[in-house]
């Protein structure tokens, strides 16, 4: 599984931290508030009960006082309920079960001790306060705690919402902070991809981020080193090729002199001269291709070009019929391309088709791409990944005893496509054969 990104992890850590903190605070404050509220409510209830008990106490004079009237005379609200237990009998303002009063409290009151206990009555929270009055009667008051519980529920809800918001805020802060913290790294990534894309002059500003000074300086050092080496390698390739040009010119001219006189020579000499002539020609092509590759990183010089015409001209320069060109409808007539390089890339694909693919059967000019179909056996999948590499020749070349290509043609095609911001690809042609494609996107 892919590991979550740094930003995600930092944000999650922030969120979890904030959640833990706010949950702790919420829990503690809820407990404190609810305890305080309950205690206050209890105290008020007890006070009221004592007051009522005093009223009852004064009314319970005589042998048979009217307990019902006495209870009725009490001034109680809707959320209070009064009971009197006297000589084993229960009195209430209205009919009601005595079972609401817990036995433990009854026993305690029977011993003459006042007390209070929290109970649930009809599923509602309530408080029972017991106050013994004279003649071993006990006055009970049941106070509903529904309002208080509702308040506490609301408080709990609010605190939970706050906790969630705080942790979301934590995540947001984490996201924001990492964005800022990672911004210099984004600059590094951008510079690195710039360098990978061929812009070797990309450097980081060493003063931009003091914390990352070491990273910046080693990055810039690496980029310097890389560009120096690349330039050196390229110059070396170009120098070697240039140095080869003069001796090759002599060879080419001398061998053509010899070649003209082959008929007058014995068979072995003539054959040897034929070999030399072929190899000199290949050597020339190799030097040209190497030089082309050595400077392939140069920026393209775009100019509007009629691609249909261009394709026909390249075909005719190879002695191939121009009507192989298929112009896909909807393709713009003119594209801005580096004409010389596109001509060369297409020419190389055609040469490749002739050499290894039994000749081109179609050249397609489509929107943003050129395609060359050949009639060969296609390219086995194991060779596809490397076919655009330098000095890679198709297996057909080996079978034919070396082939006459330089092994650089398709590498040049790929370089030219890349210089245009596109790429060279290879697919199967429906019905057999290979289909090479050069993508040449137009910069917006």
């Amino acid at each position: 599984m892919r590991r979550a990104g740094l930003r995600t992890r930092v944000s999650a850590a922030f969120a979890i931290g904030a959640l833990a903190l706010s949950a702790g605070v919420t829990f503690v404050s809820y407990e404190l508030i609810s305890n305080t509220l309950f205690r206050e409510r209890e105290r008020a209830a007890v006070r009221a009960t004592y007051f009522d008990a005093a009223v009852i106490n004064s009314g319970l004079i005589g042998d048979d006082p009217n307990v019902g009237d006495l209870l009725q005379s009490l001034d109680i609200g809707a959320d209070r309920y009064v009971l009197l237990s006297r000589q084993g009998r229960w009195y209430a303002r209205s009919a009601g079960p005595a079972a609401d009063v817990p036995t433990a409290l009854q026993e305690m009151a029977a011993r003459g001790e006042a007390g209070a206990q929290r109970i649930r009555r009809d599923g509602q929270p309530a408080l029972v306060v017991a106050v013994p009055v004279q003649n071993s009667a006990v006055f009970y008051e049941i106070v509903s705690l529904r309002e208080l519980e509702r308040t506490l529920q609301l408080l709990g809800l609010v605190l939970t919402a706050v906790a969630i918001m705080v942790s979301a805020g934590g995540a947001a802060v984490g996201w924001y902070v990492t964005r800022h913290a990672l911004r210099p790294l984004a600059a590094v990534a951008e510079a690195a991809s710039g360098i990978a894309g061929g812009d070797l002059d990309t450097r980081l500003d060493p003063d931009a981020e003091p914390e990352l000074a070491r990273l910046t300086s080693s990055f810039n050092h690496m980029a310097d080193e890389l560009s120096r080496r690349l330039k050196r390698d390229r110059r070396f390739a170009a120098d070697v090729s240039h140095e080869l040009r003069s001796p090759l010119q002599t060879l080419a001219a001398a061998v053509s002199v010899l070649n003209r006189r082959r008929d007058g020579l014995d068979e072995r000499s003539a054959a040897a001269i034929g070999l030399i002539a072929d190899e000199v020609a290949r050597f020339q092509a190799l030097v040209d291709d190497l030089l082309e590759l050595a400077r392939s990183d140069q920026p393209v010089q775009r100019e509007a070009a009629d691609m249909d015409l261009l394709a026909r001209r390249v075909l005719s320069s190879r002695g191939l019929p121009g009507d192989l060109v298929e112009f896909i409808p909807g393709t713009p007539v003119d594209w801005p391309v580096d004409r010389r390089r596109v001509e060369q890339a297409l020419g190389n694909l055609l040469d490749n088709a002739v050499r290894y693919g039994g000749g081109p059967v179609a050249v397609r000019v489509g929107p943003g791409y050129l395609e060359v179909d050949d009639a060969g056996p296609g390219v086995p999948s194991e060779s596809r990944a490397t076919i655009f590499d330098r000095f890679v020749r198709g297996p057909a070349a080996g079978a034919r005893g070396g082939g006459d290509g330089t092994g650089l043609g398709l590498a040049i095609v790929a370089e030219h496509a890349a210089a245009h911001g596109g790429r060279a690809t290879l697919a199967d042609r429906p019905g057999g054969g290979a289909r090479f494609r050069i993508e040449l996107p137009t910069p917006s």
């Binding site: 240039h242 040009r245 003069s246 001219a253 002199v257 015409l309 001209r313 004409r339």
Partner: protein
């Protein structure tokens, strides 16, 4: 038999190219320096000149400029360097074409033949036309003459051929590719050949080369000669 002057300081290249050119039917005057080449051309004018750019003493660019003062002989630069700068400078000095070493002898011979076909009085496509007039500019294809304000203008054969091609299609835009194939006989070639020759022509047939009124550029399409 036509004669070719070969100016090349590398002994081996000079020797082998001279032999190969003789095989192709050219009488070859091979010399090692620009000074010798100019002297040779004065004494025994050749029909075409092949010149290397990097020469000891006077370099190839100067050699071409000096040749051009007196001569409209076709010049092909044969250079071991193919960087844009050298090639454009060689063409601006007055060369008609260029090839990069190592060049196949067949290719070189083909270039020479194409140059020869660019004859002095070249106008195969419009025979019988004696004078074409574009304001103060007069072109006489049959006589091989160009006149500006009635005064004869010295143009090279390639410049003349280019001018005739444009004049025959006066008012019509010709693309660089069309001009390359009609004047230089290149199927695929370097469009800078056209650009540099147009620039050289402008210096000769325009009152102000920076503000051409005859030979104008049509952006993105090519060039045209305006009536």
């Amino acid at each position: 038999m036509s004669a070719v002057l070969l100016i090349e300081d590398d002994d081996r290249i000079r020797l082998s190219l001279a032999m190969a050119l003789e095989d192709e039917g050219y009488q070859t005057h091979a010399v090692a320096t620009a000074e010798e080449g100019l002297e040779m051309q004065r004494r025994q004018p050749a029909d075409a000149v092949l010149v290397d750019l990097m020469l000891p003493g006077m370099d190839g660019f100067e050699c071409i400029r000096q040749l051009r003062r007196t001569d409209d002989v076709p010049v092909i630069v044969v250079s071991a360097r193919d960087d844009t700068h050298d090639i454009v400078a060689g063409l601006e000095a007055g060369a008609d074409d260029y090839v990069v070493k190592p060049v196949a002898v067949k290719e070189l011979a083909a270039r020479l033949r194409a140059l020869r076909r660019r004859g002095r009085t070249a106008s195969a496509t419009a025979p019988g036309v004696t004078t074409m007039t574009f304001g103060d500019l007069e072109i006489r294809p049959e006589a091989g003459e160009v006149r500006l304000h009635g005064e004869p203008v010295a143009v090279t054969r390639t410049e003349f051929r280019l001018l005739c091609e444009l004049a025959e299609h006066a008012g019509q835009v010709l693309s660089r590719q069309q001009l390359l194939s009609r004047v230089w006989e290149y199927e695929i070639g370097d469009e800078r050949l056209v650009d540099v020759h147009v620039g050289r022509l402008r210096h000769k047939i325009e009152d102000s080369a920076g503000k051409p009124k005859h030979l104008v550029t049509v952006r993105g399409l090519g060039y045209k000669l305006q009536p």
